[in-house]
Symmetry: C2
């Protein structure tokens, strides 16, 4: 039996979107392939609220995160982390011999503008990475406030991880001044995993030109140059299946209307938060809660694996806590094409299993 | 109208295989995901004739090629090239600051065992890259003879690019002593592009441990370690759609029988070669012709773009020459699930268009 997914990616994908993954192949050097990538990029610019170039990468979000920090750090990177995926960015720097420092917030707490100010004011850094939405703890960082700080440092390239939020909440890339805004197909955009996406500002282009060893496959400048020189093509063979499905799904997203889509995510988040507070508690600082998933503090010490097993028998799947938080929390994602009815159905079943 | 693809990737994918790309999602940290990757790896070991570990990467073949040369060169790499994809390996080394030398053969000529012997006997190299099948020129290198040379140097890690041949011709990885044998889904295996595959020997594992900066996403040792520690899972979120389709298609390949499959490829190759020699000529050295595609020397100076346009109107697509060879050659791929009937139908149409 298929389990309806309420985990923070891969998300449940609509049957009509899945069907597009089965589109017959075309040549990746054809005019049709160029037109496809151009169409996708034009639509993504609307979702990202940007006029900058859009890069597609046949990798998970990690591929573009690594590409960003490696391609665009000329001096030293300041990596801000509120959980597992923030720390991953620091590891990526370390494993590539890219100079970087890690600034961690305590579990459940946000990256504050003050922390960013303190780091950047040293003048040591020319790149900063921020996690917008951290699925390991359920935090959505205050990027508007952080933006005001980063804008004071025009030489700093800003990389923002919106892997689990883009398409589910409003992120105005150009207004915020984000240089490389990264997302992935299998979260709030509502596709299967296998492709990642980023915006790439002119400042980022210029910076990458100064970095000598950017590698090949994850080199963001090479992706950018290929788009310019080869009319929206990809340096190697991209996952055309994901591109067909993305092209279709972006039409659906724009048809729903971005504001409607964001409002639906907030409505679902509020509903799950209220439920969590009624029966358990919220794990994260309530000022910075994620709109796309809720990390529930397991105050009743329930057996999460057992709950998930019983949910599985009924055709649902949620997620245990991440890493050290495995039994201390559990996570309910409410993103992409998930609806209020889906959320209500899930919570009704949890209530029924736990005897609430 | 869909065009039946006779280009060297992406290839024509059977409708039942495409349908598997539309399989609903599962959690990538679930037991089902582990079982899926384990099943795929077991079947791939048969196709690769290996008992070593199999790594999957959500990238095009270039991703694993870069991962191999970067993860496993501790001293210096000897890169042998017979065309564009051999040269690409040298660029990958250069862009990652990996010490490497390029040994090029003239266009249309093979990498000879003597060339490899001459390079390795200097003692300068601890890694060698060979292209098995080079789609830019239609060469299939004599890997059995080259194997005898490389085996004399037990400290050398051998990387073999079989992106466009694995699954279409017999490559006995363990018998040859190949340490990292790389392929990709969109060629002779017969899937859409978006995933690459390699075998990874114990010697390669030990070598990678000595290399300090292997990066993150393309680090082959990290893919390997995750399989061991996490029971056949992937460090980030893999393209599950490709894995579903690969699982299915490998059953079909094994059902056809590997020897039958290879024989079918030889039969198609012989037919296209005979046709090419009747009307044009072969571009590559006839001792080293590829079994999966034929590069035809455009001796009649036909307008290849015009031919392809007319073929397109009839629902077929072939490929012009690669790079500098654009008009001097054209390429007909005959790989994956392509049949003799498909090949005959294509050539009949070319004959009809060209008035042969």
């Amino acid at each position: 039996m298929h389990k309806k997914l309420f985990i923070p990616g891969p998300v449940e994908v609509r049957p009509d979107v899945l069907e597009k993954m089965a589109t017959p192949m075309i040549g990746h050097r054809s005019k049709d392939a160029s037109a496809l990538q151009r169409r996708i990029s034009d639509k993504l610019r609307k979702v990202f609220y940007t006029e900058e170039e859009i890069l597609l990468s046949t990798t998970s979000g990690s591929g573009l995160m690594e590409g960003a920090i490696r391609s665009c750090t000329a001096k030293r990177a300041a990596v801000f982390s509120v959980g597992a995926f923030g720390k991953r960015w620091y590891e990526m720097a370390k494993f590539n011999n890219v100079p970087a420092d890690l600034f961690e917030s305590e579990a459940g707490h946000a990256t504050t503008p003050e922390m960013v100010e303190e780091a950047l004011s040293t003048g040591k850094y020319d790149l900063v990475t921020i996690t917008h939405n951290e699925t390991s703890v359920g935090i959505m960082n205050p990027v508007e406030e952080i933006s005001k700080v980063i804008k004071k440092y025009p030489d700093v390239v800003w990389c923002l991880d919106t892997v689990s939020s883009m398409g589910g909440t409003k992120i105005e890339v150009d207004k915020l001044g984000v240089d490389i805004c990264i997302t992935s197909t299998q979260k709030a955009i509502g596709l299967p995993p296998g492709m990642s996406i980023c915006s790439f500002s002119k400042k980022a282009v210029e910076r990458a030109k100064q970095v000598p060893f950017r590698g090949f496959y994850l080199d963001l400048l090479s992706l950018y140059n290929y788009i310019q020189k080869k009319d929206y093509q990809y340096p190697s063979t991209p996952s055309l299946s994901h591109m067909f499905a993305l092209d279709y799904q972006l039409d659906r997203i724009l048809e729903e209307g971005l504001e409607n889509r964001f409002a639906r995510h907030i409505e679902m988040a509020n509903y799950v938060r209220a439920w969590a507070k009624e029966h358990f508690d919220l794990f994260a600082d309530e000022r910075y809660l994620s709109n796309t998933l809720t990390t529930v503090k397991n105050t009743k010490n329930i057996d999460v694996a057992d709950l998930n097993k019983k949910l599985g028998e009924r055709g649902f799947q949620i997620s245990n806590g991440y890493g050290d938080l495995k039994d201390k929390t559990f996570r309910i994602a409410h993103m992409a094409d998930c609806t209020m009815d889906d959320v209500k159905e899930l919570l009704w079943n949890i209530d029924d299993i736990l005897g609430f």
